[in-house]
């Protein structure tokens, strides 16, 4: 990829001090976000997807400590920035939208004013100009009779419309980066499809980079250029959408993909990942996935696997990729995916 890097995380850690001890929620994640791309973070609850992105804009509760090497945005390290400097970046250059728009919008202020506020604050436009711009944005995100609805309150909007308001608010200052944390999880499928289409259009229009958090593999397949699979506070596999879906190397990714019901299968139990994610108060020794993984090797109980390179764009943290590891036979469904990848995708990818 020749695109420009807009955000670069390097060895990010987040810890929470709680009454029962320190929770290691994010345990060293690194990635580059390219201009205009959509990077999806997937994984179970508690894998650190949300926390790691909230650390970028530093909107975590007070008992959290963020550490690590650096978060480079436009040549500057966000880790070293104080609150007032972060305020200039939050909402204007890096915007966020969340799962539940009702809790992100102020219930006692008209929605139009809430969209105009960041425009006045960050772009220093007059009230009238900001209002004009807010109405244009509302129209752009598909709110009909925008002028009339400008002065209405959040409770007068449906869930899908509220999420549109949130999106208008997020793109109001033409951010470089949009962090979307499960923005469609609470919505109906048809509304979800509309919101995803809108996000994709805006992505192109404003040349934004998006970090998209979700646990729905269907949504990921639709929106992602690249995918990071997270488990127990770390990225365990990283690759292009095609690589993750058709050439997955980490047994955890296998499990995630196979737990989704195949529309052609009936009368057969779904594949499940046994057990639960580890408690990050006490991170187990070795690979935290080992005790749920039937492909675990002895070394998994001793030493956490490093990232192994699969291709220039594809990495996975599993000892199975070590040259000394025994050859294991993945489940048939995964083998079929590998075959499809070999025959249809690999060459296509090499050519481009």
């Amino acid at each position: 990829m020749v695109s420009k890097v807009v955000l670069s995380l390097s060895n990010l850690h987040v810890k929470f001090k709680t009454l029962s001890g320190t929770v290691n929620a994010v345990r060293g994640i690194s990635y580059d976000l390219y201009e205009g791309e959509t990077l999806a973070l997937v994984g179970e609850s508690g894998s650190g997807k949300s926390v790691s992105t909230k650390a970028i804009t530093k909107v975590l509760p007070q008992n959290a400590t963020i550490s690590g090497d650096s978060i480079i945005y436009q040549g500057e390290d966000l880790l070293k920035k104080g609150d007032s400097k972060m305020n200039k970046i939050r909402g204007s250059e890096i915007a966020m939208i969340f799962q539940d728009p009702m809790t992100s919008l102020n219930p006692i202020l008209p929605v139009g004013f809430q969209i105009a506020e960041p425009i006045i604050e960050h772009q220093h436009l007059s009230k009238e100009k900001a209002k004009e711009k807010a109405i244009k944005l509302m129209e752009r995100v598909g709110i009909v009779k925008a002028e009339e609805r400008y002065s209405q309150y959040p409770h007068q909007f449906s869930g899908g419309m509220r999420q549109r308001v949130m999106i208008a608010l997020a793109v109001a200052c033409h951010p470089h980066i949009m962090i979307a944390d499960e923005p469609t999880t609470a919505l109906d499928v048809t509304i979800q499809a509309q919101i995803i289409e809108l996000l994709k259009e805006l992505n192109k229009e404003f040349n934004m980079s998006t970090i998209f958090i979700t646990h729905d593999m269907g949504v990921v397949a639709n929106i992602a250029d690249r995918i990071a699979v997270m488990y127990a506070g770390k990225i365990v596999e990283f690759g292009t959408a095609n690589e993750i879906f058709f050439n997955p190397k980490h047994p955890y990714t296998w499990g995630l993909l196979m737990a989704v019901p195949d529309v052609n299968i009936k009368d057969q139990d779904l594949y499940t990942i046994p057990g639960m994610p580890p408690n990050l108060l006490h991170v187990p020794k070795g690979d935290p996935f080992a005790f749920r993984n039937k492909y675990a090797l002895n070394i998994d109980l001793e030493k956490e696997p490093p990232m192994f390179k699969v291709s220039d764009t594809h990495y996975a943290a599993t000892w199975l990729l070590d040259e000394k590891a025994p050859k294991v036979e993945p489940p048939k469904e995964i083998l079929d995916r590998w075959k499809y990848f070999e025959n249809h995708i690999e060459n296509m990818q090499k050519k481009s």
Binding site: H215, N222, F245, V260, V263, K266, D269
Partner: protein, 316 residues
């Protein structure tokens, strides 16, 4: 197909009936649920799917029509004895497992309470033993019984909720979005558990959800609801392969599939309810188009749908 366990006939539920603010949540809905099957109800918010579940549970009064449970009209049940008997046979699992378990009761009290109420156990000791068995049946450890709901994860709470629901050996369980709030891998665990119980105990399910791919996977038959009406009803395989009603097509086209290649070429079909243009004197209803495949339409539309289905069947 066996005997119907639930028969819903011309069911209506209007809120604020007769007033300007009247909402027709359920408007003339009829279907049968057969012994041992999983009956899926799919639809978006406001389609009336949850209200249908609540009315079958007799949690609310109906405006018109009837619901029969094993041949008995449930809204004619008045005496306490009969009500207890009815409630014992029909149980519900909800979306949010944290909200449906009382945080101040131990798991033992939550699962054991109904057992005592229905005199299914004669002593505390027997109750505790039964609770332990139930916990193990849903894949949890028997020593969880002394703990409180807050100590468990969402998936575990949903298992506890299922243990509570099956404690009374009901004939039918209504699962309203029972897995939507859970992670994908946990969803799969709960779905497998529900399937296991169906096999072993012979349960009947009404599975209510907006996620058509899960509904399709788990259900034998599916009813698609929109604006208080059932628009299409049929065998889940047929409905998925050959949807006829434009709303079903639109709903199916919006379901994201976990495959980046098909997703790139996906075309969404948009449904506009005005496209039907029914006139006042049109006789509309659910008509059988294919074998046990029903579509809501006017009498004039029947032939068109039949032709459409025939075309599709010859193609495939």
């Amino acid at each position: 197909m066996g005997t119907p366990i639930i028969q819903v006939k011309n069911l209506q539920k209007f809120y604020n009936a007769g007033k300007l603010s009247e909402v027709r949540a359920i408007d003339d809905v009829s279907f049968d649920v057969f012994q041992g099957e999983t009956f899926g109800i799919a639809g978006e918010s406001g389609s009336g799917k949850t209200t249908t579940g609540k009315l079958i549970m007799k949690l609310e009064d109906i405006t018109g029509g009837s619901i029969e449970f094993l041949g008995k009209n449930i809204h004619e049940i008045k005496s306490r004895k009969e009500t207890l008997q009815f409630r014992k046979n029909i149980q519900m699992i909800f979306q949010d497992p944290f909200a449906s378990l009382n945080p101040r009761l131990t798991i033992k009290e939550i699962i054991g309470g109904p057992l005592e109420l229905h005199h299914m156990v004669s002593s505390k000791k027997e109750r505790d033993k039964r609770v332990g068995e139930l916990l193990e049946e849903v894949g949890l450890s028997a020593n969880f019984a002394e703990r409180y709901p807050t100590e468990f994860s969402g998936g575990q709470c949903q298992r506890i909720d299922i243990a509570r629901a099956i404690a009374l050996k009901p004939k039918i369980i209504i699962a309203d979005e029972a897995i939507s709030a859970l992670d994908v891998s946990i969803q799969a665990q709960i779905v497998n558990l529900m399937r296991k119980l169906k096999r072993e105990v012979g349960l009947t399910y009404i599975f209510i959800a907006h996620d058509l791919s899960m509904v399709k996977y788990i259900s034998d038959r599916i009813a698609v609801m929109n604006r208080g009406k059932v628009l299409e009803l049929g065998d889940s395989e047929t409905l998925y392969r050959h949807p006829l009603h434009p709303y079903t097509k639109s709903l199916l086209s919006a379901v994201p599939i976990a495959n980046p290649i098909t997703e790139k070429n996906r075309k969404r079909i948009i449904y506009n309810p005005d496209q039907h243009q029914y006139k006042d004197n049109d006789e509309c209803g659910l008509f059988e188009i294919g074998d046990k495949h029903y579509v809501y339409c006017s009498k004039q539309e029947i032939e068109g749908y039949k032709r459409q289905l025939n075309n599709e069947l010859t193609k495939s």
